[in-house]
């Protein structure tokens, strides 16, 4: 870069930081290199990129002003929730990272229309605590619900262990308020009505613009208000783990569990891996390891205690019919109640992350017996990758939790970012998973920049995506590079 160009760049940066500080106050904007470094990377295997600024708006008006400034100066913006995405949600170089941590309020709980309105920066765990105090709960949260923000999960249409009935996170959203690239505030769903501007229904206008922004990963607009479905806290919960001899048996049982139409808030299928069931007795683990290597983990809730045990009996009958056993008959430590379910599949699910820095490729596969093909294929792919990279431990190819009518599974590898060679090998291993998974029909659902080259091969879907992007963000300031949209930015 020539001396003059460098000067122009420095002056531009100086002007931007001054304006940002004017908008949000000097304590809420920074371009200190050490601050930028902290905000440069997510939890994925991909290397970070240093943004130009970090700014923390406290309300919608401030955020709109920031976006207008970005649009005027053609500076990319990158909304950030908790910064722990696993799919390369990495800020473009020189961008304005909009940290939503200050926009973290629960704005309203509408008990009549069963929804709550939140700002994007609130953490799922914080929201859970607040809703529980009111006697309510949200429907779906991410696996790492303690560390994730609501905005980030909606923007990437996430799923979670509780998705069995409620589906993807997007299915739980009633309406949104979104700041567009020119600073306009868009309201979607029923709250767009000029004479009754309340969130209570999603499909009250012709095009489902809520759906457009759910999963857009910050490329079309920035979510500033989210209306989520809520439900009254359950009256009774039962939790069980059933063990089966084969995938066929386990998948068939899982399908039959789903067909009961019980309110299954957990339905997971799990291939035995030594140590995974460590909180249970060694005796039970031995039986599972040798005879019943496939477990299905089921939790359901009912509105009245009297309904719980009869429903549990039905699940037990399905298990027996498919040659399975109730693990609690072998091991009294298997949890059975709501707290046990939460510890096992809520917090317990996160505890799989305890083994350290890892890459995770979450992917979607169809429900029912078809899942068996994908699990077996997944194990085959894992073996192939393991052969080339024996230094890594692999997990989860045969593990999934149910999202309504499909499963979420994936490939996971642990690696060491302090060792460049190990890190590079892990990236290569992940590429092998990506390529082979993709070709075998495993379907990614959160893209970041990780799947850019794959997304670009989907026609005409990707072409429409580009047109939408061009229309809504002509200056290409909204998270350029994410979803393979917008030239230079991104990874």
């Amino acid at each position: 870069m020539g001396k003059n160009n460098k000067m122009v760049k420095v002056n531009k940066e100086k002007k931007i930081i001054e304006e940002l500080k004017e908008i949000v106050g000097p304590k809420n904007a920074s371009n200190e290199p050490w601050v930028l470094y902290i905000y440069s990377k997510d939890s994925s295997i991909h290397e970070g990129q240093i943004p130009g600024f970090v700014v923390r708006p406290g309300n919608v008006k401030e955020l709109q002003e920031i976006v207008r400034l970005a649009n005027r100066t053609k500076t990319p913006v990158f909304p950030r929730g908790s910064g722990n995405a696993l799919w390369a949600a990495i800020p473009p170089k020189g961008s304005i990272v909009i940290d939503t941590a200050r926009m973290n309020r629960l704005l309203k709980v509408n008990k009549d229309t069963l929804n709550c309105i939140v700002e994007p920066g609130i953490m799922w765990a914080e929201l859970e605590g607040l809703l529980h105090k009111e006697g309510y709960k949200y429907l779906v949260s991410p696996g790492n619900y303690i560390g994730a923000s609501v905005g980030g999960h909606i923007a990437s249409h996430g799923v979670g262990p509780s998705s069995s009935i409620a589906g993807n996170q997007g299915d739980c959203v009633i309406g949104l308020k979104v700041v567009l690239a020119d600073g306009t505030l868009l309201t979607t769903g029923s709250a767009a009505h000029p004479y009754h501007p309340e969130h209570f229904a999603r499909y009250t206008v012709p095009y489902d613009l809520t759906g457009l922004f759910v999963g857009s990963e910050g490329t079309l607009g920035i979510l500033v208000e989210i209306c989520l479905k809520i439900e009254k806290l359950e009256k009774a919960v039962r939790f069980a783990i059933y063990a089966f001899k084969t995938y066929e048996d386990g998948c068939q049982a899982a399908l039959e569990f789903r067909e009961t139409q019980f309110r299954l808030v957990r339905l997971m299928i799990d291939q035995f891996i030594p140590g995974r069931r460590a909180r249970y007795s060694p005796e039970a683990e031995k039986v599972v390891a040798t005879t019943y290597p496939i477990t299905t983990i089921v939790g359901f809730e009912v509105c009245h205690e009297s309904l719980a045990d009869p429903q549990l009996k039905v699940l037990q009958e399905i298990t027996a019919r498919n040659g399975g056993v109730d693990l609690s008959t072998l091991d009294p430590m298997v949890p059975k109640n709501a707290e046990g379910m939460w510890r096992e599949t809520g917090i317990g699910h996160c505890l799989r992350f305890q083994y350290g820095v890892r890459t995770l490729l979450p992917m979607i596969i169809p429900f029912g017996m078809e899942a068996k093909f994908f699990f077996e294929k997944g194990i085959e792919i894992t073996k192939e990758v393991q052969k080339k990279f024996p230094q890594f431990v692999y997990s989860d190819a045969g593990n999934a939790f149910s999202v309504d009518r499909h499963y979420l599974s994936g490939f996971m590898t642990w690696y060491d970012e302090s060792d460049p060679e190990n890190w590079a090998d892990a990236k290569e291993a992940m590429h092998m998973f990506q390529e082979r998974g993709w070709k075998n029909g495993w379907t990614p659902y959160r893209w970041g920049t990780e799947w850019n080259s794959y997304l670009k091969t989907i026609h005409p879907y990707y072409d429409i995506l580009k047109k939408l992007k061009k229309t809504l963000d002509p200056n290409n300031i909204m998270s350029p590079g994410i979803l393979g949209l917008g030239g230079k930015g991104g990874r």
Binding site: E32, G83, A101, A125, I146, Q354
Partner: protein, 407 residues
């Protein structure tokens, strides 16, 4: 480079954010980091453990220059209370919450944060002025303590009728804080020991600092000097057991000394609450006055509870005197920091007291009239906070004082 030794830990952080706002709905835990709750810039990433560990990584990788703003954050954004460690997903796994599948990474964010401060000191960019003053005081032979009181006045509080026994293998370590700032604690402590028939020795005018504040503020060289000095003196005096009423001294003797010196393992370290419990169990100390109609609660000092696992002895002693004991919430390993630790009280007293106010409010929510502590640091800060509130506790007091009144 200090941080080199912590490289593996630093790279084990997977940025999960559990240290930001941990919630356990069944235990009622909703947030864990007092700095995040009370610091005016608390929701910035650098104000909780993940951000600080990333700063350590950036320094290791030489990604940025260390600026005065950054140095300020490193000392103002953490009380080293250990709550992030307690709720760190990697640390939980390492501690054995679950088995591993072939490997077991280790990360103690609090340890990394302390190392980060030591790195800054090693590079000559710190200690900050108030922390430097502590070191200056310690090096001055006429002062010889952290807080600047005269050396010759260190034992002024000692009751005339209690004399140290030079032959005893038990040492009562008075520390710096109580003798100069809250002498009623140490006075009660020795009276309680005396009532239990304990013959104890002291280091007299030779007592120096335990090194706690120095370890927490990155001044490791002088802290280690204190450690070597103390270990040598204890050996010379023929000491086997050290009893201290101070949670900060206890943690330093119990955890820091063995980390840096093999000699430290020779000594039994007991907090006064543990020793009182022992004396009660052995029938050597009798509670004569129980107070049934007053509700009391207890603040877990981070250094005693979360850092060293001493949760029950203070409670058991307290319950023996006040059957109407109530727990404040959250408590034990999930307890919030009072705000004083890690050099915070010295560096940013306003923030420390703000955090203390939060704890007073939590305590008052139990309807208790008395708040009991087992740490002079906590006590001082909680009293400062209590004085600011319109509905304060009637008394914020150390366990030693409570026991003295009851025997």
């Amino acid at each position: 480079m200090v941080l080199e030794k912590y490289r593996e830990q630093i790279y084990n952080c997977q940025r999960c954010s559990w240290c930001k706002h941990f919630v356990d709905i069944y235990k009622g835990i909703d947030g864990i980091c007092a700095v995040r709750e009370y610091h005016p810039m608390g929701t910035w990433d650098f104000n909780f453990a993940r951000g600080q560990v990333q700063i350590a990584r950036g320094i290791l990788e030489k990604k940025f220059k260390i600026t005065p703003d950054l140095i300020n954050i490193l000392f103002d954004a953490c009380t080293t209370c250990g709550s992030c460690t307690e709720h760190c997903i990697i640390y939980m796994g390492w501690r054995g919450f679950n088995k591993n599948i072939g490997f077991k990474p280790y990360l103690d964010p609090t340890e990394v944060i302390e190392a980060l401060r030591a790195e800054i000191v090693e590079q000559g960019l710190a200690p900050l002025k108030p922390h430097k003053k502590i070191a200056q005081n310690l090096k001055d032979p006429n002062i010889f303590n952290a807080w600047g009181g005269q050396r010759k006045e260190r034992w002024n509080w000692m009751p005339a009728d209690i004399q140290p026994d030079p032959k005893s293998e038990i040492l009562f370590y008075a520390g710096c804080t109580s003798p100069y700032k809250v002498p009623e604690i140490v006075t009660s402590a020795v009276k309680v020991l005396n009532a239990g028939g304990v013959k104890f020795n002291t280091m007299g005018d030779d007592e120096w600092d335990c090194g706690s504040t120095l370890f927490r503020t990155g001044q490791w060289d002088l802290a280690k000097e204190c450690m070597e000095y103390n270990l040598k003196k204890w050996k010379e005096l023929g000491i086997k057991t050290i009893v201290t009423h101070c949670a900060g001294c206890y943690r330093t003797f119990y955890k820091d000394y063995p980390k840096w010196s093999g000699d430290a393992k020779e000594f039994e370290i007991l907090h006064l609450s543990q020793y009182i419990k022992k004396l009660m169990d052995e029938g050597k100390l009798k509670i004569k006055r129980k107070v049934k109609n007053v509700k009391v609660t207890y603040q877990d000092p981070c250094h005693l509870g979360r850092h060293c696992g001493v949760f029950d002895p203070p409670r058991e002693v307290l319950k023996a005197i006040y059957p109407n004991f109530v727990e404040m919430f959250p408590t034990r390993e999930h307890a919030f920091c009072c705000g004083a630790a890690g050099g915070m009280k010295t560096y940013d007293n306003k923030l420390a007291v703000k955090m203390g106010t939060g704890q007073i409010e939590k305590g008052r929510a139990t309807q208790a009239e008395i708040l009991v502590s087992t740490c002079p640091f906590c006590l001082e800060n909680l009293r400062d906070a209590n004085n600011k509130l319109s509905h304060p506790f009637k008394e914020v007091v150390d366990l030693a004082n409570i026991v003295e009144r009851a025997i």
